[in-house]
Amino acid sequence: MKSDPNEASNRVSDEELHALVDGRLDPVQREALLARLARNPQAHASWQAWQRQRDALRGLHREWLDAEVPAALADAALLASDRQQRAGHWWRWGGMAAGVLCAFGLGWMSRGAQGPLVAAEGPTALHAAPAGGVREFVHQASVAHMVYAPEVRHPVEVSAAQQEHLLQWLSKRLQRPLKVPDLRAEGYELVGGRLLPGSDGARAQFMFQDKAGARVTLYLGAMQAQAASPALVAARPGGPAALPPTADLRESAFRFFDEGPVPGFYWVEQGFGYALTGSLTREQLMRLAQAVYRQL
């Protein structure tokens, strides 16, 4: 009986039907399968139904493919892309970064809870590559500045006119009460702020502008705790017993950075990172960073 679906030569497996419906067969396989389906009405009906189903699904929400991408998603994608571009670099430098991180951890610990130290303006003072999560943080700050500072129509999500709302909103998202520094004495007015994704959670960006339209941004957010390795603990004078609480590991002096697209100063305090960024001279940036630090 040539048309008996149970005849071994006429049987069609689900896998074969899927491959046919999903267009995964080459022309020869396809012809052979279609010939068998012609002799197996039940499998033929399944094929037809699954094909209609696939065609309907292919059309489902198709308009979303052409819809404009919401700005928040585009922003998050740009940041993620930027991280990935640097991935290759990180694979090469990962080992070295761990060593640098230890060195800086020790440096920060020794500063204890005195708060950021402002560098003497010597040519080599406190100008070194930041390590680990800090390096990511300052790079993100720099990229965020580069992306938003040139914006004419939408430089911020919430403008300075709604400063109270801006602060409540960003404080809630960053899970810490924030303050906006007043930089008018330095000639900069608040433009507003926005929320950004960071590697350790939400980040905020405040934007300021002077009379000539030059912009600086303050980028801030929680920094991941960088636990000291056992080796680091043992190496520290005084031994493990003298190790201060981890919070002390996460303090830093003001440091200048210029590896990213836009230079700036950054510092870490109580597990929170700050970066003041702008296309200004090092001295101008330092003065603004100090003004910000005094008020926070």
């Binding site: 999903d22 139904a49 892309s81």
Partner: protein
Amino acid sequence: MSRQSIVDHIPGLRRYARALTADAWAADDLVQDTLERACGKWRLWLVGSDLRAWLFTLMHNIYANQVRGAVRRARHATLVELEAHAAELVAPRDAADLELDLQRCLMRLPEDQRAVLLLVTLEDMAYADVARVLGVPIGTVMSRLSRARSRLRELMEGGAAPARDPASGLGEQDPAVPVLRLMKQAGTMP
């Protein structure tokens, strides 16, 4: 180049999320979470590997967590409301409702079957890639695909609302996102 390519994947991610969750807001939240996760996990992405598959993997993991959490909470909170919601699952009135009906029937598939079916059809993803994205063997992908297609056919052809025992509680076909949506309406989620 790489910078552009993540952006290029957003429309596909949004559409998939939309079909997976049946909720436009939940879809964009899911994409946003996915991109934030991509930011944090970028070290785990190897240059030159399949960026799309990686992004879908992140999205699937986030979604699976959300569904688990929502179902857990729903067991305590919204059983009754969920039953009321099931009344919306009725046969289409005319051809214009086909898409709506298709989405509703999709939501009656178990979440893992729905994900397989959507990755294979909407995304036209290779079976092996679907297995990698979902973190299951390819045999599981194929069996889920069979069950999804057979079940969806029944739902679409047999009238979209077969009799349903109101006392049955949360069965395997209970859609996860109506749960999410109900919880949002109830004000338990931001």
